[in-house]
Amino acid sequence: MSDLSAIPVPVPADAGSSLEVLREALCSVHPDLCPLFSIEFADSVLMVSRAQLHATAAKLKELGFERFGFVTAVDFGDDFELVYRLQSTRFGVGMSLKTEVPRDEPAIETITDLWPAANWHEREVYDLMGIEFIGHPDLRRILLPDDWVGHPLRKDYHDDDVIPRPDYI
């Protein structure tokens, strides 16, 4: 009977060292980004301001994050937090690049010029969260019909057709 001290799942083998290698590389090439970098839940996170986002994404792409994962938004009430997920073959890790946009002015520069893959992802964020991507070649709804009103993933979305789920717990 094998004991329970098996593979620690939240931290893949060698993740600690790959993240430290990434931190060293980032801090040596871009020292201004160093204080914005953190390791949370055994994963790398870089939090930047909205104005810096495009430039930071370009720097990360040059550093070795050639692969685009996705972009999504989280509604935190006063602002939306945009999360860009990038993957690097060189470091063997992914990174979450985050920024915040205020709720009353939900717009940010597009990154489709860096990664064409971001095209549909930004359309989806626009569709479901209502964040405008300035400079996007084709910003329109993707999952919902073109004449839909509102942005359903927002926390204050209201729809008469939605049946509220009873609270069982």
């Binding site: 593979i7 839940f41 996705f70």
Partner: protein
Amino acid sequence: MTIEIESRRSVTDEAGRGVDELVVNIGPSHPSTHGVCRVIAHLDGEVVVKAEPVIGYLHRGIEKMAENRTYLQVVPLTDRLDYVGSMYANWAYCRAVERLADIRVPERAEYIRVIVCELQRIASHMMGVGASGADTGAFTAFVYAFDIRERIVELFELLCGARLTYNYVRPGGVSADLPDGWIEACRAVVRAAPARLRELDDLFFGNYIAAGRMRGIGVLSAEDAVAWGATGPVARGSGVPFDLRKDDPYSVYPRLDFDVPVGESGDAFDRGRVKLFESIESCRIIEQALDQIEAGPVKASGLPRLIRPRPGDAYDHIESARGSLGVYLVSDGSPRPYRMKVRSPAFCNLQLLGRLAVGHTVSDLVVILGSLDPVFGEVDR
């Protein structure tokens, strides 16, 4: 008949001659679109000038629904994302929950997860290759592929009672241990499968008609594959050797010995063959896992009934049959996720359809769509 002619526009070509461009609407309900995909194709004769996939016909708001369910109640929702691959869809979500809530999964559960995920990979690829067969007219190849898939789906039914949506991989482990005799039944299936897969390769991909229909169709260059975020067999068919099981290893994959088949030309033919050879490699993985698995618990001990992760967010991904499938979860400390985002490989790969179909005929458009192997539960969520 579902192909309707929407409009006929006259354009003038460089020599000043009037050329009719036909805009044809294909789908969403169509036997060749692999689900509910609408493609608006602009045709010059039979050649596609522009193809635009329109999605959202299977959008059910799973991400919004997840915000109103506990972490355990979300698992059946993930079943219905990539419904051809419920096991790995459950697994990607469970990995994200375990990362967020700091749950350790026992070793036997990890081995079981790998075994069912690889079985699911074979089943999903058989669906993909079989559908490619049906697209090109090889209906017998479809049935051959589905026979292999049927053996696997029967194994899943023995395991958890369901044939398609399993709800088997849960946060902390799996829902129940392997029943008696299941390992022997599984071994019998994976011992017989490689020979049948090679036979399918010979009969379908070795046939000159399939080669004629699929070679040189929908060529995706390696640079485009990386720039457009393609993963899975779509990227590997173009020669990009990116596989999360090797490049960002997780679970017990580092202990298992397997190769990652990579294509050369990036056409529909290579994508199909990558899927088939991946299935043969999966058989190797399963045999090794069946040899290495030991007795033990299949669920993390001490797991509360309601998982309440500490506030924060985490992302975790696995290599599904379609590519890198990931789940991003945001927690606010309550038993329900604050936000769940599914990074679906089929959504990312489907963006390429517009690029790949240009210059090919309408019949090739169907073959390209099949080679991208989208599952619309995952694309639309």
